[in-house]
């Protein structure tokens, strides 16, 4: 991996920052050009723009879906039409014309699913090469199974057989609908109901594809599972749907990484991810998000409006979200955990970087329902340029949640005088025995620290990377090895030119 047309108005000055003397090197170019900006030139078999019941029937028909799923989509669509755009976030969002987007796009050469990588269109494989995902090489060396999603259709799956030997199902969502419809029907929408929010409802109506993972009882998935996505055709919303089920005593680590090409119009990415962990099960879901963030004037970039939620359903079940968010023009997501099982545990480790004109309103919700549940939140927000970064978190302890414990550490780092960091922590507890701790810090990359590094021969750019790395250390340590190195490099690239 390694890398809206509306203007956002006058930048709000950050509330906690004194203007800093601009050192000369601050004038360095704003970011290197987004390195993944290119478009694969394969014809796409897309539906014309517009969204109505017919569109949904067309999608369902193209994917040869069973009736229950078509009905589910239609019900979601009906709900969506009755809902209003949410506007409570600390975000400025240019109006989206939902009728102007195309809701289905498939590369022509994918009419018949290839049975092995040999059958995959070489042009597509070239795409993955450019993205740094040489499927066969990576699969062989790292032992990682990759389910590559190209626009709205899955391209291929590696290692399906090896996983099948231990009973692990890892395939595209569409494949799961065809081959494991009973599992899909049982769990779909149980963690994120159709009507949960505006974008989840939209996703439920028009979702294209995503990943499906099922880990049977007692199985520790032998390799880390991974998925890559791209938005290719113009004006296409990417509506990914992922479902991960971990049966009793099982565990899995899933990696999600994204890239997207350079665009002038904002592109909508409204995904839904549902995780279910039964008794003694553990799901770790790690994301490195590097969607196109918009150019240095705030034009273009992906809108990343995602609903991610994990249900720690079983006793002693555990769900851990780890995310590195560096891309997108606007990031709006709250990977959450519902702690229903007794002694269940939820974790959220996040680094969110906003530079130039990016905006982020992100955080988590930890809902304590069962007894003796625990949750831990570590959020590192880095703002630079004219960006605004908000942490929004909810820790809720319900009346029946005896012995609940939470610790939240929410740190913001500001680089430069024009950016903002905002914190909206919500603590909602119905019990006197709940232990909820919240610590928050807001700091600047101090001039003194920078100068100290420089006096030892380290230039400002490298010093920033060092300091930012140090700031994020607690989260970087949580990442699977593969991602940790990429993440550090990604942080450095995202902040190039941000400080002098």
């Amino acid at each position: 991996m390694t890398s809206q047309t509306a203007t956002l108005g006058a930048p709000a000055t950050s509330q906690d920052v004194q203007p800093v003397q601009q050192a000369p090197a601050l004038e360095q170019a704003l970011a290197r050009p987004y390195q993944h900006g290119f478009v694969t030139d394969i014809e796409s078999d897309s539906l014309p723009p517009g969204l109505d019941e017919d569109t949904i029937r067309a999608i369902s028909r193209k994917k040869k879906e069973p009736e229950f799923l078509l009905n589910w989509r239609l019900a979601a669509f009906a709900r969506w039409r009755a809902m209003e755009l949410p506007d409570w976030a600390h975000l400025k969002i240019a109006p989206i014309d939902f009728q102007a987007l195309s809701y289905y796009s498939a590369p022509k050469s994918m009419k018949d699913r290839p049975k092995s990588l040999d059958e995959v269109d070489p042009k597509l494989l070239e795409t993955y090469e450019k993205l740094g995902v040489p499927l066969h090489e990576r699969a062989a060396l790292a032992g990682v199974a990759v389910d590559a999603v190209f626009d709205s259709v899955s391209v291929g799956t590696t290692f399906r057989k090896q996983l099948a030997d231990v009973g692990v199902i890892f395939c595209s969502f569409s494949h799961a609908v065809q081959n494991h419809p009973e599992l899909v029907e049982k769990y779909l929408g149980t963690v994120v109901p159709q009507g949960d929010n505006f974008y989840a409802a939209l996703n439920s109506a028009v979702f294209s594809d995503g990943s499906f993972v099922y880990i049977p009882k007692g199985v520790r998935c032998p390799m880390e599972l991974s998925s890559y996505f791209r938005i290719n055709a113009q004006n296409t919303g990417q509506f990914e749907r992922t479902l991960i089920i971990a049966e009793e005593g099982s565990s899995v680590s899933y990696l999600e990484g994204c890239t997207a090409p350079q665009r002038d119009e904002n592109q909508l990415h409204a995904a839904v991810v549902e995780l279910i962990a039964h008794d003694d099960a553990f799901i770790k879901y790690s994301t490195v998000q590097n969607w196109y963030p918009g150019d240095e004037n705030g034009r273009g970039g992906i809108y990343n409006f995602v609903t991610k939620r994990g249900l720690a359903a079983g006793r002693r079940s555990r769900i851990a979200w780890t995310q590195i968010e560096t891309g997108s023009a606007i990031t709006w997501k709250y990977p959450s955990v519902v702690l229903r099982g007794d002694e269940s545990n939820g974790e959220f480790h996040s680094i969110a970087v906003s530079n130039h004109w990016q905006q982020a309103d992100t955080g988590t919700k930890m809902i304590h329902l069962g007894k003796n549940t625990t949750s831990r939140i570590v959020s590192k927000g880095i703002s630079a340029g004219h960006a605004h970064n908000s942490y929004r978190g909810l820790v809720r302890v319900n009346p029946g949640a005896a012995g609940a414990r939470n610790h939240t550490q929410c740190d913001s780092l500001l680089i430069g005088p024009h950016c903002g960091a905002h914190t909206f922590p919500y603590v909602d507890t119905a019990r006197g025995d709940a232990v909820v701790e919240h610590e928050a810090t807001t700091t600047r990359i101090s001039e003194e620290r920078l100068f100290y590094c420089e006096q030892r021969g380290i230039d400002a750019q490298e010093a920033t990377a060092l300091i930012v790395g140090g700031f994020c250390q607690a989260v970087l340590e949580e990442l699977p090895m593969e991602f940790a190195l990429e993440a550090k490099a990604l942080l450095a690239v995202s902040l190039e030119g941000a400080v002098g």
Partner: protein, 256 residues
């Protein structure tokens, strides 16, 4: 015998901090391997000299010149001055949270290597030499894996400056009250390190009030800074006199 230009040549340096002109006209030469002690009353501008030479953004050079091995220091950004061989210790070294000491020093060292067209250091080789340097300074090895100065006392931070000094091996070092917060053993370690580096050619400007250490350092010259200028140049005897009579009397002695 040919006359080699001094390693450090400062001429009529004028430095402003905020509204105040702290240094009016400072000139001095330092040769390789020489050690000069800089003394002055509080507020006389001792720290200012170091910070101005290092290129601290709050210290505005309004006039004058500073050459390091013939290079115009004042034209260079701070990190390049360091790479040219300048080390200025901080009075209150800041911490760098989350960044381990050995990573920090190794990054600095590699930056220097890069500037000199040398290969970056092997991590293991570096760690070995870092451990050795720590031992020689009487520092616990654990210090290497702690974040830079995080939770360090004042004295420990000063020792960390010395650790970096011993590994970076600069051409010119300015030590600003390095003895503060240190016990007798600490001071002995400072002197030992300084003399070792001096023998290898490093030049030193040492800002200090502490006569015992100054004596041990056997300075080549002692300078008294007053009203933003070098008011008096002398040797160890000057330092002893200042220790006896203080700065006000020293000033009077000169005027008399």
């Amino acid at each position: 015998m040919t006359h080699t230009p001094p390693l450090l040549q400062v001429r009529d340096l004028r430095v402003q901090v905020g509204e105040r002109t702290v240094l009016h006209s400072v000139s001095l030469d330092v040769q390789p391997g020489q050690l000069v002690v800089l003394m002055g009353a509080n507020g006389s501008g001792k720290s200012t000299l170091g910070m101005a030479l290092a290129g601290h953004p709050h210290y505005a050079v309004q006039g004058g010149q500073a050459l390091l091995a013939g290079q115009d220091l004042l034209q260079l950004p701070a990190h390049e001055r360091a790479r040219a061989g300048l080390f200025v210790s901080f009075q209150s070294p800041p911490d760098v949270p989350g960044v381990k000491n050995n990573l920090f020093i190794r990054t600095a060292l590699n930056a220097q290597h890069e500037a000199r067209g040398q290969e970056p250091l092997d991590a293991f080789d570096f760690l070995a030499s870092a451990k050795k340097a720590a031992k020689e300074l009487g520092l616990p090895e654990a210090m290497l894996s702690r974040p830079v100065n995080e939770g360090f006392s004042g004295g420990e931070r000063k020792r960390n400056e010395l650790l970096q000094l011993s590994l970076l091996k600069p051409r010119l070092t300015l030590l600003d009250e390095i003895d503060s917060g240190m016990d007798v053993d600490g001071v002995r370690a400072v002197v030992a390190l300084v003399q070792k580096l001096r023998a290898e050619g490093t030049a030193f400007i040492v800002v200090s009030h502490y006569l015992t250490m100054i004596e041990q350092l056997q300075p080549d010259a002692v300078l008294r800074l007053d009203q933003g200028c070098i008011a008096e140049t002398g040797d160890l005897e000057l330092a002893r006199r200042i220790a006896r009579t203080g700065f006000a009397r020293a000033q009077q002695t000169v005027e008399a």
